[in-house]
């Protein structure tokens, strides 16, 4: 294992940071939460942020916190799918395909919600789960897993996640298509 400073990783994978923050902003606007400040990318920690108003409703909180996780995962899969076959399976040297693989992996690497996002969810989820909120019930184990993965970032869990989504996703997709 080797250490690369966070800002260097963020700079190399900057599209993922931008997409992640754009996801937060999108869901804030969708659920009409106030946005006090937005930084799409900077050389610092965190590499990007969206400061938004608080809410006691679980649905907006869930989507504002978890939305970027789903959006980044989906976009990672889409871009990597466009590049997966020429790069991995067909071994064709196609620069556009390599560009898309970099883009897809960069986006996938920044899918994990920050610990601040997860803390917000964790504050409200148990209470709403007790009230029978299905989304809150589902989100409890998800938040737990993502907490662990967030800590595992120092062991490149974020890159591992990007690779898993960018390779296993297209494999599953193409195998399904081949069965059709």
């Amino acid at each position: 294992m080797f250490f690369i400073p966070g800002p260097v990783i963020a700079a190399l994978t900057f599209p993922g940071v931008i997409v992640h923050e754009a996801g937060h902003l999108f869901f804030c606007r969708l659920f009409k939460l106030q946005v006090y400040d937005v930084c799409f990318f900077r050389f610092g920690n965190p590499a990007g942020y969206v400061i938004h108003g608080k809410t006691n409703q679980f649905l907006p909180l869930f989507f504002v916190s978890m939305g970027p996780f789903f959006a980044n995962t989906l976009l990672c899969m889409v871009f990597c799918t466009a590049a997966f076959l020429p790069v991995w399976e067909l071994k064709v040297s196609d620069p556009l395909a390599y560009f898309f693989y970099w883009l897809g992996l960069s986006i996938g690497m920044h899918a994990f919600p920050s610990t601040a996002d997860l803390s917000n969810m964790w504050e409200l989820a148990p209470q709403r789960a007790k009230q029978g909120n299905v989304l809150a019930i589902i989100s409890l184990p998800l938040v737990g897993i993502l907490y662990l993965l967030n800590f595992a970032r120092m062991f490149w869990a974020d890159l591992g996640y990007g690779i898993a989504v960018g390779i296993l996703g297209p494999i599953a997709l193409f195998r399904l298509l081949a069965l059709a």
Partner: protein, 356 residues
């Protein structure tokens, strides 16, 4: 900015530094004092901090004595109020997104051939795993046209081709893949194909060796034995079994076992009627005529020779071949003497070649 005056000590300052207790306004030291007294007397002691809603919390704009409207629970100037409720997407972000989507569209159109090749490869892979090797071939051949450098596709195609006796297809695929070099020669798929390839090449080497032997008189038996070995070694190439039978004809001819010779040629003619099998049968019938003198064999031989001529009429190569063997068979019928092709050439064609 709004100001307030402490009801306890008379201090006047920004309203943000004051607290409300029991409907009166106090500075921080005074509110602590009156709240403490209330606790001692058993009265409620809670107090709240006052806010200055005339200052925008985002940009610090001062509205004098007038409060800014609250957005959520915070005061914002009109410009910031609009911003926080409807934070705009920056133009560069929208442009980048549009550019990225356009690029994705280009990639999908550009990658159409890869999707097709990949889909064909997965279909081919499934068919290979199910043992439907012949059905897998066209899918994998299409993949190789796009991706000749793909280890996986080349190994799958080679495996399917070798298991159906299509050595040429396998050879073309392997040679087209970095001149036959593979990244990982330790993997199971490579080792399987390598073993198949070596088996096929060994069998074909034996056939080549047999073809050279058969050109020399007295080696037909040895040649037939080699081809049988090849057919047993590489049974996937069904043509080898037929080739072995053809070599058996030569061995029977050399042993002067003309009944055996005729039986094989008859079977081959029945199975695969062609100019070549007709000629072979004509040759065997001519041998039978030569040794028995039975005119029926002669008539049948002549009839088969006609068929051989007729069936190969449209093929220049077969026409040329007909001219070569027809003379020998006619000589056999005329003279009732059975001589090997090399002996016939020595006697009757040596001069022709020199004259040519």
């Amino acid at each position: 900015m709004q100001e307030a005056t402490c009801a306890g000590c008379g201090l006047t300052a920004n309203v943000k530094s004051f607290y409300r207790f029991d409907d009166r306004i106090y500075c921080e030291p005074c509110v602590g004092k009156v709240s403490g007294e209330a606790t001692t007397q058993g009265r409620p002691a809670q107090y709240v901090a006052l806010k200055d809603n005339s200052v925008c919390v985002r940009c610090g704009a001062d509205n004098g004595q007038v409060d800014f409207p609250l957005v959520g629970d915070k005061p914002f100037c009109p410009r910031c109020g609009e911003l926080v409720t409807q934070w705009p997407y920056p133009v560069w972000l929208k442009t980048s997104l549009a550019f990225m989507l356009a690029l994705l569209l280009v990639a999908l159109i550009h990658g159409k051939k890869y999707f097709r090749a990949g889909s064909d490869m997965y279909k081919g892979e499934r068919l290979v795993h199910e043992g439907h090797y012949a059905e897998a071939l066209p899918y994998l051949q299409r993949t190789i046209e796009i991706a000749p450098g793909s280890d996986k596709a080349v190994l799958l195609l080679s495996r399917a081709a070798l298991l159906t006796g299509n050595v040429e297809i396998a050879q073309k695929a392997i040679q087209g893949h970095n001149g036959g070099n593979f990244e990982d020669t330790d993997n199971q798929d490579f080792r399987e194909v390598d073993a198949l390839w070596k088996r096929a090449v060994s069998a074909l080497d034996k056939v080549e060796q047999a073809s050279k032997l058969v050109e020399q008189d007295g080696h037909a038996e040895e040649a037939a034995h080699l081809v049988h070995e090849a057919a047993a070694e590489y049974p996937e190439l069904s043509g080898l079994a037929i080739t072995a039978e053809t070599f058996d004809e030569g061995a029977d001819f050399e042993r002067k076992d003309y009944d055996g010779f005729l039986a094989i040629t008859q079977r081959q003619w029945n199975q695969f009627p062609s100019s070549q099998t007709a000629a072979a049968m004509a040759s065997a019938l001519a041998c039978k005529y030569a040794v028995t003198g039975d005119a029926q064999y002669r008539q049948q031989a002549e009839a088969m020779l006609d068929k051989a001529h007729h069936l190969g009429a449209n093929d220049p190569a077969q026409n040329k071949s007909y001219e070569e063997y027809a003379q020998r068979i006619q000589y056999r019928l005329k003279s009732r003497e059975i001589i090997s092709p090399s002996e016939y050439n020595r006697r009757f064609r040596a001069n022709q070649t020199k004259q040519e």
